[in-house]
């Protein structure tokens, strides 16, 4: 199982949307995918039309006060088959409590999520983690558990500053714990080339190394509407593959291009 995280230290820039849609895309290709929601907002459940159920907090703390033969395996906290080949560990607001539990752990705290996910590594080919924007222990656990990281960037100065902060954090991880996920790539989200801030972002993207520059996601109201109906962009805009109307289906088309790029990048780098 290869674990890919979607990280950015800025909220509302399309991390959850991207993680959900890309996970669904890979799953639709017959690849078993586990989606882990590491964000306290826990929106991935809503995006996929699921009720709240088990969650990541339970996965992370369930070992701490039990013994080996009493523990509940990670797979008991997984919502199976939210879509064909796609399973989900939802996030929820109690994720903040995890920090308190794990602070009492003397050794190996950063490895907790990696170990929990290892229990199910034979069940999946890919694991996507949607990391919340907050810099906290849970996001550190998620980065430590990841083999690769994808960084979305939305128009505006704050997301670009967030990239620098995240790269600093990865450097710090390499120094302190001798492990950090490989940087797979950056992708622009919510691009609208009529806006100056989008043009600025396009220029910024061109300044990045070619191999790290993933296809961009243009602004598409359907991408924002789909979660309201508990659908992925593929389900919300059926027929996108056959249509020649690029404007109507740009969200689905852009995410399809990004998924293709990521599939090749994963095979090349990881």
């Amino acid at each position: 199982m290869l674990t890919i995280s979607f990280a950015a230290q800025k909220g509302g820039i399309g991390k959850t949307t991207s993680a959900v849609n890309l996970a669904a895309r890979f799953a639709s290709k017959g690849i078993p995918v586990l989606l882990v929601d590491g964000d306290a907002q826990g929106q991935s459940s809503t995006f996929l039309g699921q009720q709240r159920g088990p969650n990541l907090s339970q996965v992370l703390i369930r070992h701490e006060q039990t013994v080996l033969y009493d523990f509940r395996p990670t797979r008991e906290f997984i919502i199976k088959d939210v879509r064909p080949n796609l399973d989900l560990i939802p996030g929820d607001p109690t994720i903040a409590q995890v920090e308190g539990f794990l602070n009492e752990k003397k050794f190996g705290r950063e490895r907790v999520m990696k170990r929990r996910l290892r229990e199910v590594e034979a069940d999946y080919r890919l694991c996507f983690i949607d990391i919340g924007p907050t810099v906290n222990l849970v996001s550190a656990l998620a980065l430590y558990a990841s083999d690769g990281v994808m960084i979305p960037i939305a128009p505006g100065p704050a997301p670009r500053d967030g990239v620098a902060d995240l790269l600093d954090r990865l450097d710090s991880m390499r120094r302190e714990v001798d492990h950090a996920p490989k940087l797979l790539g950056y992708f622009a989200t919510m691009l609208d080339t009529r806006e100056k801030i989008s043009k600025d972002l396009e220029r910024f993207m061109l300044s990045l190394p070619d191999d790290l520059r993933a296809p961009s996601i243009r602004k598409d109201v359907r991408v924002a509407e789909a979660p309201d109906e508990g659908k992925t962009i593929w389900e919300y805009t059926p027929g996108w593959e056959k249509s020649r109307n690029d404007a109507e289906f740009r969200g689905a088309r852009d995410y399809a291009r990004l998924a293709d790029w990521l599939a090749l990048r994963i095979q090349e780098v990881l």
Binding site: M1, R115, R118, R125, Q267
Partner: protein, 101 residues
Amino acid sequence: MAKRNNDPYAGLLNRNKQSDILKRLDPDADVTEEVPAVLEAPKELSAQTIPADQVPVNFTVRMPKGLRLKAKTRAGTLGKSVQDYIQYLIERDLQENPIKL
């Protein structure tokens, strides 16, 4: 960037570590039968930590439900390839997380 082929996902579909390990352990392994089960310790072991190199070879093992380990089995016993694979899992996990009994 790798050269784009017709199906960018094909390589991901074909890479299956579990099958690779099983095939390496036993090239003749029959990968059609599912082996359900959870780790069970020998009863004579009291509270202690077992180092990785002292894991009893006759450990009775039931794999966690859903692991989907598929391999050759004999009636009522685990096939050799399954035991080897389990031993591999135990040793690997114990390096980071010794079992406390």
